[in-house]
């Protein structure tokens, strides 16, 4: 029995000389019973303070002097015969005979190396947790749903603007810290998490004692009993203030930029209106031929103004949908030339290609010339027919194709110094876009253009 005890045991006589040792005691001290026998306990069982390494009073000596049981000593290192330092817990007790005379002492001790290791690991883990909570400006909360009791660990008091030790003791006290407008959302998020057994996530504001409003994020999960009833919720509280502030700043900067851009679009349109009105007033004083030229110029202005209107309304205010734009442009031009779509049909096959303003304005002006040209010259004597546009975009370029089945430009036309301003404009605008153009007048007129495209980054 004696040797199978898990703790180390040494028995001494009334003068502190070793009488018996069990195996564990032999292993820990490095002394065999035969060698240690009759030796003073101070020699066999040498203990020092773990921190100072100064010798400690031997528990046996204390027991023999005081005649009482020692309390368990902590932070003790056993110096073994081989020089090993082993952290131990020890305690000693007196042995008395039937008459109550002190006849010896028994010393019990145990190796606590393993326990120390897990204690140290726990300490390290806790230290890391503290560091993490400090770095993340966060804390842990533990809420008993059954009792309503709430416990805070870490930086939650600071986050909530509560004095140290002033943590709320229950959920109702906690609620009183929260911005009144956010209590409902918080409670709803908790209910949803419990109902769906999902992770809990919320954001709310707290009002500090000085009136400051701060954002806090909560993340957690609930624990349920065997009946599936939630009993406890544990999670973290995180400081969201910086994030919320920068979100707000970015949002407000974006809003300002958007307002500014819209204002610019508005002013451009206003100015284009003034130019258009000037030309219109001018045309009143002009001959018929010049008046027609002024109408054409006003149509060109309309096509540019339409771009600004489209950009103003677009989700991404830096780009517009080319197909939609050309479609609306056609409506204006048909109306301007007094042509019904029942006579000359209009069709756009577009893949929804988006273009920035630098591409869209030349494309619009090109379309303006092509459609005007078709409507004016392509279908004389009330002939009927159709105009088709095809707009496709891949990663490198935009295909911009326009065709009609009218009478055509005629075979002798020279594009570079062609007779009309319209064709010259088309030619120059294609060059401006660094694109290519191919005009086919075999059946009606067909323009096939390609414009190279840079990869685009969206601005919203």
């Amino acid at each position: 029995v004696f040797s199978s005890i898990a703790d180390a045991v040494i028995v001494t006589d009334e003068r502190g000389r070793v009488r018996l040792m069990n195996t564990v005691a032999e292993e820990l001290t490095g002394w065999k019973t035969e060698e240690a026998s009759q030796k003073n306990i101070e020699e066999v069982f040498r203990v020092v303070d773990e921190d100072s390494l100064l010798p400690r009073e031997n528990p046996v000596s204390w027991v023999l002097r005081e005649g009482r049981i020692t309390s368990i000593s902590y932070h003790t290192l056993l110096l073994s015969r081989t020089g090993k330092k082993i952290p131990i817990d020890d305690s000693g007790a007196a042995i008395r005979d039937d008459t109550g005379d002190l006849i010896g002492a028994v010393l019990v001790f145990r190796d606590i190396t393993e326990r120390r290791k897990s204690e140290a690991e726990l300490e390290t883990t806790q230290e890391r947790l503290r560091l993490a909570m400090d770095a993340g400006n966060m804390g842990v909360w533990d809420w008993s749903i059954e009792t309503g009791e709430l416990r805070w660990i870490g930086n939650l008091e600071r986050l909530h603007g509560v004095a140290p030790g002033g943590a709320p003791k229950n959920f109702d006290e906690f609620k009183s810290l929260i911005h009144p407008d956010d209590v409902k959302t918080l409670e709803k998020n908790i209910q949803e998490s419990l109902a769906n057994k999902s992770h809990f996530s919320t954001e709310f504001r707290v009002i500090w004692a000085d009136g400051a409003i701060r954002w806090i994020g909560g993340l957690g999960r609930a624990y349920y009993n065997d009946d599936g009833k939630p009993v406890r919720m544990v999670g973290v509280g995180i400081d969201l203030n910086e994030r919320k502030l920068s979100e707000e700043t970015i949002a407000s900067q974006l809003r300002q930029k958007e307002i500014l851009l819209k204002e610019v679009h508005h002013r451009v349109k206003n100015n284009l209106q003034i130019i258009s009105s000037l030309l219109s007033l001018q045309s009143l004083k002009s001959g018929a031929q010049f008046r027609e030229l002024l109408v054409e110029s006003r149509n060109r202005i309309q096509s540019m103004a339409l771009i600004h209107e489209k950009l103003y309304q677009a989700r991404d205010i830096s780009r517009i949908n080319l197909g939609e734009y050309i479609g609306e442009l056609a409506v204006i031009l048909y109306s301007s030339f007094g042509v019904e779509t029942s006579r000359i049909k209009f069709n756009i096959d577009s893949d929804g290609a988006l273009a920035d303003i630098d591409t869209a304005i030349p494309c619009g002006l090109i379309a303006n010339e092509i459609i005007s040209n078709s409507l004016k010259h392509g279908f004389p004597d009330q002939r009927s027919g159709r105009i088709d546009f095809k707009i496709k975009k891949d990663s490198r370029r935009i295909l911009f194709e326009a065709s009609d089945n009218g009478v055509g430009l005629g075979p002798a036309i020279k594009l570079h110094d062609g007779p009309t301003l319209g064709l010259k404009l088309i030619w120059n605008l294609v060059a401006q876009l660094k694109g290519t153009i191919d005009i086919n007048t075999n059946a009606g007129t067909a323009y096939t253009m390609y414009f190279p495209q840079e990869p685009h980054q969206e601005i919203r």
Partner: protein, 129 residues
């Protein structure tokens, strides 16, 4: 039948003159051009119009929509309205205070202006006053 009388409220004089010229060409009578709410009210009181064509962003404290409301309440009658602006309609929630109006975006084409004028005047004639 006398030609319908039109009041133009527009602080951009070139644009206002352009509108006037276009209307006169079609046989309408333009009773005046105002660049602010106060001037518009004076002109309307002196010679009540059958139609008002208004820019929305104009000089002075009151915008074009407010000007229309003020004139209508002074004359205690509903005058047909056409708004002409470079802004989209959605930017002016105050338009909801009006019974009816037409909205034209700048820059506008002649056809759109003429069509709008004809439409509101026709509607007006069709309604019992």
């Amino acid at each position: 039948v006398t030609a319908p009388k039109i009041l133009i409220v527009e602080d951009e004089l070139i644009v206002a003159e352009d509108i006037r010229a276009k209307l006169v060409q079609k046989g309408y009578r333009v009773i005046g051009i105002a660049d602010s709410c106060d001037k518009a009210l004076d002109l309307a009181k002196a010679n009540p119009p059958d139609l008002m064509i208004l820019d929305i962003r104009i000089r002075g404290e009151n915008n074009g929509v407010e000007t229309a409301l003020i004139i209508q309440s002074h004359l205690s009658e509903t005058i047909p309205l056409i708004f002409l602006t470079a802004f989209p309609e959605a930017d002016f929630p105050v338009l909801k205070a009006l019974d009816s109006y037409l909205f034209i975006n700048k820059p506008f084409s002649d056809d759109i202006l003429y069509a709008a004028v004809e439409k509101v005047l026709k509607t007006q004639r069709g309604l019992p006053s």
